[in-house]
């Protein structure tokens, strides 16, 4: 019966399914466009406090730069970081996954021939596309008004590296938070774990301050600075890195190496996410359901 109904797997079948999921997720997100518009505007508020804070810091010191950042650099850095985080931040992803485990709606993905991680990715891409559509104008306006803070635009290769780093930061943010959400298979409530993650993330991603400030802090092991350690961790690639690329703080071989580290973390997190899903569903099948 259904043998006749089911089409044989055609090439690009997976892509087509994914496209349909994306389209439907887009439609769903558009239902909430009003909420989105408001959320976008709210994002600009914290940056104002940061600008005031750093203005005060620079006023109190006679130095014209701190860890290689002038006052203008700092403002440009925060604006760029906001842009990067528009790619890498995944509001509600981890808690959403954990909730689907708790309330049982994850079952649907055990019964239907559809991949949960792929589905979540489609949903998140849709989420982001709608967000960019809504946020493009306010973002453009703010960047235009603050254009005086920015150095002249970098060369084409740097811009390409910047764009690549943004795409990778999206994937990294996605897989990291999705893997975190899969912990919901082991713990009933993941919100405190997510909170801890957010805290570390805020500190080590460069969201709070440029990672270069950590250069001055040695770890106590062979005089290695904390910034070097952070460089090998995934966090800074979700905020600091793209901004630093645009501002010309990372260049040449360092840039290539850093992009490779970022891509490496994307792979590691994607695999971790897969393993967590696989083991998690096995556990769910054995103990819960």
């Amino acid at each position: 019966m259904s043998d006749a109904a089911a089409m044989p797997a055609k090439p690009f079948q997976g892509l087509r399914t994914w496209w349909t999921m994306l389209r439907i997720c887009l439609e769903e997100r558009l239902v909430y466009r009003g909420d989105f518009a408001l959320g976008t505007l709210m994002r600009f508020l914290p940056i104002v406090t940061q600008v005031f804070l750093w203005t005060a810091v620079f006023a109190a010191t006679s130095r014209s730069d701190i860890a290689g950042y002038s006052r203008n650099d700092i403002v440009a850095y925060y604006l760029l970081t906001m842009l990067t985080r528009a790619f890498s931040s995944m509001p509600g992803l981890a808690t959403g996954i954990a909730r689907s485990v708790r309330d049982g709606s994850v079952k649907k993905f055990l019964i239907q021939p559809v991949d949960y991680v792929g589905f979540l990715l489609a949903a998140r891409v849709a989420h982001k596309l709608v967000y960019y559509a809504v946020a493009a104008i306010p973002f453009a306006l703010v960047f235009f008004l603050c254009r005086g803070y920015f150095p002249p635009p970098p060369d084409a290769v740097t811009i390409a590296a910047f764009l690549l780093s943004l795409v990778l930061s999206f994937l990294l943010g996605f897989f990291m938070e999705a893997a975190l959400g899969m912990l919901g298979f082991w713990f009933m409530e993941v919100s405190s774990i997510v909170f801890g993650y957010m805290l570390v993330q805020y500190l080590l991603s460069g969201h709070m301050f440029p990672i270069d400030l950590l250069r001055t802090v040695p770890t106590g092991v062979a005089g290695v600075s904390l910034a070097d350690v952070v460089h090998w961790l995934p966090f800074e690639y979700t905020a600091y890195f793209s901004s630093a690329v645009w501002l010309g703080k990372v260049q040449g071989r360092d840039l290539v190496a850093a992009l490779a580290i970022e891509a490496g973390w994307v792979v590691v997190m994607a695999v971790a996410c897969r393993i967590a899903w696989w083991r998690g569903t096995r556990r769910y099948s054995a103990f819960g359901g």
Binding site: M1, S2, A5, A6, M7, A9, Q13, R16, T17, T20, M21, I24, E27, E28, V31, G104, S105, K107, K108, L110, I111, Q112, P113, V114, R282, Y284, S285, A286, F287, G288, G289
Partner: protein, 347 residues
């Protein structure tokens, strides 16, 4: 048919569901009352093993419509979850359409469907038509075939005007109908229904009965249904499997369950006016007086002798003889079983 588990016994071609000694145990943690106990619980938790399903054997052939009955917590839903691959068993084997369900092969998942009464597969904020479209993709249904099947199902349930409306704006009954359409789009060979009519009004229940019966016959689909409504069973199922405490208590035809588990018939007498109690009680049967109506429970072996006598009594306007309602039989079955369990536990 291809058997993916060498441990499972070979099944004849028309056996669609084969279950052998299937068991599922859960470990549950006891949470004693009180703060002190909660604090102790941080260091040491006491747990016990609950056998939700213990050694069930069952074979279901192609095209059968089987009702799974049992009190709450009897293991019906656990059994459906095992057969749809959501959970893995502790012991035993099962194959559905030749596949071991909990291996969750895509080939298997494209050939069955599970509908749970209280759970939503449709997208809440979007019209059902969009969810249908997604199903077309994930189940790889040919476009022409998809449209034909969709239109057919939608018309049978008379819900065409609803499919373009966001699901959240629909009533429970309307949603359930659309859930069924979504589940049947890929023409599953096996359908599991977990309390599909829960919370629905009589009209919606009836529509869904007709629909299910129709689709099931047309497609020769194998259906397993859990329910607490005997109307569902009477309308749809020829075969009934009663499960209590994780075990099959009865497996047979609906007609036989009435035969085997009832010793009497219900005779309802209508009088012109409320009759004299003593006169009726003299017949020697348990009776229930409701104004001008009297309900007697008469042993089946005695009904042929008793009826003429009763009918001959003065003032009888109307009489009806019925089997004990299915609800009552099943309730009695459940009760007898729990009494037996209690006796077993105390001895």
């Amino acid at each position: 048919m291809h058997n993916t588990d060498p441990a499972a016994e070979p099944t004849p071609d028309d056996t669609v569901i084969h279950v052998a000694r299937l068991a599922k145990e859960y470990r549950v943690f006891d949470k004693p009352e009180g703060l002190a106990a909660s604090i102790r619980g941080l260091f040491h938790r006491t747990s016990r093993v609950v056998e939700a399903v213990k050694g069930v054997d069952l074979d279901v052939g192609r095209g059968e419509f089987v009702a799974l009955l049992g009190p709450n917590g009897a293991g019906k839903t656990t059994l459906l979850k095992l057969l749809s691959g959501i959970i893995t068993p502790t012991r035993g084997t099962a194959t559905v359409l030749g596949h071991v369900p909990w291996e969750r092969a895509d080939d298997f998942r494209r050939r069955f469907a599970l509908v749970m009464g209280q759970r939503n597969q449709l997208w809440w904020d979007l019209p059902a038509a969009e969810s249908f479209r997604l199903h077309q993709e994930i189940y790889r249904i040919e476009p022409a075939r998809f449209e034909k099947t969709r239109d057919e199902l939608v018309d049978m349930l008379d819900v065409r005007r609803l499919i373009l409306q966001p699901v959240r704006e629909l009533s429970l009954g309307e949603r359930m109908k659309l859930e069924l359409v979504a589940a049947l789009l890929h023409e599953p060979e096996v359908l599991f229904l977990d309390e599909p009519t829960i919370g629905l009004d009589v009209v919606a229940q009836h529509t869904i009965h007709e629909f299910l019966r129709d689709v099931q016959r047309r497609r020769r689909m194998t259906v397993m249904l859990t329910t607490h409504y005997m109307k569902d069973v009477a309308a749809l199922c020829e075969r009934v499997v009663v499960i209590t405490r994780g075990d099959v208590l009865y497996d047979g035809s609906l007609a036989e369950i009435v035969d085997r588990f009832t010793s009497h018939k219900i005779v309802t007498l209508d009088f012109d006016e409320a009759p004299d109690r003593e006169r009726i009680e003299r017949f020697g049967f348990p009776c229930d007086f409701r104004g001008p109506q009297v309900i007697l429970r008469i042993d089946r072996s005695r009904i042929a002798d008793a009826l003429p006598v009763i009918l001959g009594s003065e003032g009888v306007r109307d009489v009806s003889v019925e089997d004990v309602p299915l609800e009552e039989i099943v309730a009695e079955l459940f009760r007898a079983d729990s009494r037996q369990a209690a006796a077993g536990a105390s001895s």
